[in-house]
């Protein structure tokens, strides 16, 4: 795998899975993994197999539910769907994530645009 791909932070994979399921409805493990790869523009370093640990974790928390079914091309597969509790959790987590990334952006942008942060300007002058 190319070294330029992103290593996933702890917990981010769970959030991506929730987002995928909330946007796409019920999906099987391969579908979820492919979807994440496609949406991220193949930027994410993902061993597809590790998605199953994330799925079992989410299911044990009651945020997704699973059942065996038959796919479009007539193969048996285990399908996962987000639950009501999962949707609520997703809302909370994505809000938290947005706030975190916003703060990270601002903090990391500090050196270049000090005037964006009143009161912090003196230190870099």
């Amino acid at each position: 795998m190319s070294p330029s791909k992103l290593d996933l932070l702890q917990g981010t994979l769970d959030l991506m899975v929730l987002k995928t399921l909330s946007a796409m409805g019920a999906m099987h493990g391969y579908g979820i993994a492919r979807r994440i790869e496609q949406v991220s523009g193949n930027q994410v370093l993902l061993n597809q197999g590790t998605i199953y640990a994330s799925l079992v974790r989410l299911e044990q928390r009651g945020w997704i539910a699973s059942s065996w079914g038959v796919s479009g091309n007539n193969r048996k597969a285990k399908f996962y769907a987000i639950t009501a509790a999962g949707r609520q959790q997703f809302e909370e987590d994505s809000l938290y994530w947005r706030r975190l990334t916003g703060v990270m952006d601002r903090v990391l942008g500090l050196n270049h645009e000090p005037e964006d942060l009143p009161g912090a300007g003196g230190e870099t002058a």
């Binding site: 099987h28 061993n47 597809q48 197999g49 199953y52 640990a53 079992v56 974790r57 044990q60 928390r61």
Partner: protein, 894 residues
């Protein structure tokens, strides 16, 4: 969180099903990927390869899945456990040795903990036991008489004090076998204690059946009632469930059984250790005992919230108002400074405090030695398994994982040892609880309870960490590559291990020597105690409680009774002395090491009693008693002619004689022939001086004693003492037959060798000495095993080196000497270290020693020699083996 936890636990159990489901998901995943890749136009081979690359390491994904869904830690633990049992099973010799060592160490600890817990830590077996106090003066030399109160004094204290919910007491002078139960024509002796009717209310004891005493039972003239002890009810009455309400013929009176005590209450176990009390009877406080003087021991229950100092203050305030006899005003105030409440528990077991702590320390040391020994065994094993661990580390096991595995092994061993140890402790406690003759309180309540189980777990875990951690860290810290290359023997790692093992052996020897010194000092003390001149000779003498009836109708002043008594005693003694083998016989109402009492302080006429002196202990005896019991007399013995109408005579003991001779400044310094004033017209003529007799125990100093003739004073009973040339037990039947021929009502009372009284008094010391000595023996054995293990291992490791040296001309003797030399070096360092620690430890136990210096040279020398001898024996076997090494075989071996 809760939900996830449950899911994980359930996932832990459905492991194979879940693994199978995951595999199906993986298969489906690959199928989807391959299909998509084929659709993208890849060749089937290429499509499959890419799918496998994308899914990543399957094994890693499986592990992550298991970790996320189940209990990984528990999985590891179970795995470690399985592995541990496999490895231990492969090496049964090691396992058995380790479990046995631990079982001894842990078992001893649990047993002693139970003893300490019962006697020291746990409250007495009464509700709110902290409120109970024992009320007595500070210890004096006049025995029980000075620790008791008159009924008037009791009444005054009970009504006058304000700190107590209630105050009770019991009659302190009951002698053993004071009851005769007549059942189906058989006369059965039994022992009862008279208690004040509120006794059980104050203690908070409830009946197992029927009722206990009520105030009406203690009224003079009340119908006689009796409460049976659980043990007597079972033994004598076959646990008759309908016993309550039945009547018994006791002392030829009809007595109603009103209740049975619960098994948890044993009067003897709390108040008179080492004696058996079969029944409780009410003390008629306002009947004849009114004028018997000091007869009641007092026990109070403080009001809730009252502290001991407050209760003591209260007692100080009441004491001056208490009178020995209310009709006799000058006896008021004589209890001043003599009414001091102490916690009942302190009275019962307080003086055992130090001994118990010593015992606890001793078993702690045993456990340390056992742990050190086990550390040693494990280190030897770890050496042999270095490669195994290196291999595991090479295969990716983390250091913590290896230490964890080793700790699991230690814990498994420790818990196996704990289970076996609990068994040992149970046996030991069962044996102890049935030692009726050991005068230690509460022994009958000894058992393994929840606290003891908790202690077992604590000790087992602590031991496992202690003996497992050092070898574990050592092993885990070893250099991986070096170990894999290393052949094991002779390497640097090996030497480091060996140094640690030597240090452990030295520690073991040092600990064992501290234990041995303590045990040795206690043993010397015990031998000194046995050597004490008691003032009488218990060997070859025995006593039986003889019943007699000296009632004479119309006997106004007791003279007729005294005459009748004289005749009965004279006949009794003559009859018993005619039995072959009986050398002497005589009667006394109290025996040395039995009960005692005092009557006052008779002094020469005209001499005022110095303040604060207690009277001599009183014994009412027949002629021949002093000879029978083995006490020397100067002057003359009492004779049958010293009757109610002749001059009152007494024999006094040496200390008392010396005291009054000094007080009266008699020129001859001898009391014989002088008259003492006891308030009677003629006074008491001293006719003889008896040797000082130890009255209660071997270890305290003797006090003053005075002997009155049974034909001039009224004894409280008759203990017939017989001196014989035969083993006393062989005479039991003929003595009983002789007594019955005179008095058909004589019950089959126990014929007790006087040594049993002395043994009972010495039993706590013997008990602690034996315990510490057996622990020391155990320590010595463990140290010997430790020495043997290390030296033996060293010899094995140096086989090659020894072979070379022998090939170069070293003799067998030289090799042996060398091995023995290194053994002795370890032993000597250990002994020296132990001696230093012992000096400090001995100082701490000095209060437990009797006529023995804590720096007793003989003990130290003997211990050092014993340890050296053991070291030589333990080192000799490996040394012999070393000297038999065949150089050719040894050199070829590696």
């Amino acid at each position: 969180m809760m939900r996830r936890g449950l899911a994980r636990v359930s996932a832990f159990f459905g492991k194979s099903r879940r693994d199978a489901e995951l595999e199906r998901e993986f298969a489906a995943h690959l199928d989807f990927a391959i299909e998509e890749n084929l659709a993208r136009g890849l060749s089937p081979m290429e499509a499959r390869r890419e799918a496998l690359v994308k899914i990543g390491g399957l094994q890693q994904a499986r592990e992550k899945h298991r970790e996320a869904r189940g209990l990984m830690k528990l999985d590891i633990l179970l795995h470690d456990l399985r592995y541990t049992f496999r490895t231990l099973g492969r090496d049964p010799g090691f396992t058995i040795a380790a479990v046995l060592i631990l079982a001894l160490g842990i078992g001893a600890n649990v047993a002693v903990f139970s003893v300490v817990n019962t006697l020291l830590l746990r409250p007495l077996p009464f509700p709110n036991a902290h409120e109970l106090v024992w009320i007595a003066p500070p210890p004096t030399k006049c025995g029980l008489s000075c620790a008791t109160y008159s009924t008037d004094a009791y009444d005054e204290f009970r009504t006058g004090s304000r700190s107590y919910q209630d105050v009770t007491g019991y009659f302190a002078f009951s002698s053993p076998d004071n009851l005769t139960l007549t059942r189906n024509g058989e006369l059965i002796p039994a022992t009862s204690i008279d208690v004040i009717a509120n006794f059980f209310q104050v203690l908070g004891v409830h009946p197992a059946m029927g009722r206990l005493l009520a105030p009406r039972d203690g009224i003079d003239g009340a119908p006689p009632v009796i409460v049976l002890s659980d043990a007597w009810w079972r033994r004598q009455f076959n646990a008759d469930p309908k016993i309550v309400g039945k009547t018994l013929d006791i002392n030829h009176q009809t007595v109603t059984v009103i209740g049975v005590l619960p098994p948890s209450f044993d009067f003897g176990a709390v108040f008179a250790p080492g004696t058996k009390v079969d029944a409780i009877t009410p003390l008629t406080l306002y009947g004849p005992p009114r004028d018997w003087g000091n007869i009641i021991t007092m026990i109070g229950r403080m009001k809730p919230g009252v502290s001991l100092p407050q209760a003591q203050q209260d007692a100080v305030a009441v004491a001056p108002r208490m009178c020995w006899n209310n009709k006799n005003p000058q006896t008021c105030g004589q209890y001043k400074d003599g009414v001091v409440p102490v916690q009942l528990k302190d009275y019962v077991s307080g003086r055992l405090h130090r001994s118990l702590i010593l015992l606890w320390c001793a078993v702690g040391m045993i456990l340390l030695i056992a742990c050190v020994n086990l550390s040693n065994l494990l280190l030897a094993r770890a050496m042999a398994r270095t490669k195994e661990y290196a291999m595991r580390a090479a295969l990716g096991a983390g250091r913590m994982r290896i230490v964890g595995q080793l700790l699991t092994e230690s814990l498994v061993l420790s818990f196996m040892g704990a289970v076996a140890g609990l068994g040992l402790a149970w046996m030991l406690l069962y044996w102890l609880a049935h030692q009726g003759s050991v005068a230690l309180p509460l022994l009958n309540t000894l058992r393994i309870d929840g606290a003891a189980l908790g202690w077992t777990v604590l000790v087992a875990v602590a031991a496992a960490v202690f003996f497992g951690l050092a070898p574990g860290l050592r092993t885990a810290a070893g250099n991986l590559q070096e170990s894999l290359k290393d052949s094991g023997a002779g390497s640097g790692l090996g030497r480091r291990h060996e140094r640690l093992r030597s240090v452990l052996v030295i520690a073991e020897v040092a600990l064992a020597s501290v234990l041995l010194v303590s045990a040795g000092l206690l043993l010397r003390s015990f031998l000194r105690v046995l050597d004490v001149d008691l003032g009488f000779e218990p060997a070859r003498a025995a006593a039986i409680n003889a019943l007699y009836d000296d009632n004479v109708p119309g006997d106004k002043n007791g003279d007729l009774g005294a005459q009748k008594r004289g005749v009965i005693f004279q006949q009794m003694i003559a009859r018993v002395e005619s039995i072959p083998g009986v050398q002497a016989a005589g009667v006394s109402d109290y025996l040395p090491f039995g009960g005692n009492r005092s009557w006052g302080l008779p002094l020469p006429k005209g001499i005022k009693a110095p303040k604060g002196l207690d009277g001599p202990l009183v014994y009412v005896i027949s002629p021949g008693y002093l000879r029978a019991v083995g006490t020397s007399i100067r002057g003359r013995d009492i004779t049958w002619d010293d009757g109610p109408h002749s001059q009152n005579v007494v024999i006094i003991n040496q200390s008392y004689a010396r005291f009054i001779a000094g007080l009266a400044k008699w020129p001859s310094g001898d009391a014989v022939g002088h008259v003492l004033d006891d308030g009677s017209p003629g006074g008491l003529l001293v006719v003889g001086i008896a040797g000082d007799v130890h009255e209660e125990n071997t270890e305290s100093n003797t006090g003053w004693q005075i002997y009155y003739p049974a034909t001039q004073s009224n004894p409280t009973g008759a203990q017939l003492v017989i001196r014989t040339s035969l083993p006393p037990a062989t005479l039991a039947n003929s003595v009983l037959t002789a007594l019955r021929s005179l008095n058909p009502k004589q019950p089959a009372s126990e014929f007790r060798p006087l040594t049993t009284y002395v043994d009972r008094a010495n039993s706590p010391r013997r008990f602690f000495m034996l315990m510490v000595a057996s622990f020391a023996g155990l320590g010595l054995l463990l140290a010997a095993i430790g020495i043997y293990g290390v030296i033996s291992y060293t010899v094995t490791r140096q086989t090659q080196e020894i072979g070379i040296r022998m090939a170069l001309g070293a003799t067998m003797g030289r090799v042996q000497r060398q091995v023995l030399g290194s053994t002795l070096r370890l032993a000597i360092i250990g002994i020296a270290l132990g001696a230093v620690v012992s000096l400090a430890a001995a100082k701490l136990i000095s209060s437990l020693l009797f006529a023995t210096s804590p720096w007793d040279g003989v003990t130290y020398a003997a211990v050092a020699l014993a340890l050296l001898a053991v070291a030589v024996v333990a080192g000799y076997l490996p040394a012999r083996r070393a000297s038999r090494i065949d150089p050719m075989l040894a050199l070829r071996a590696n």
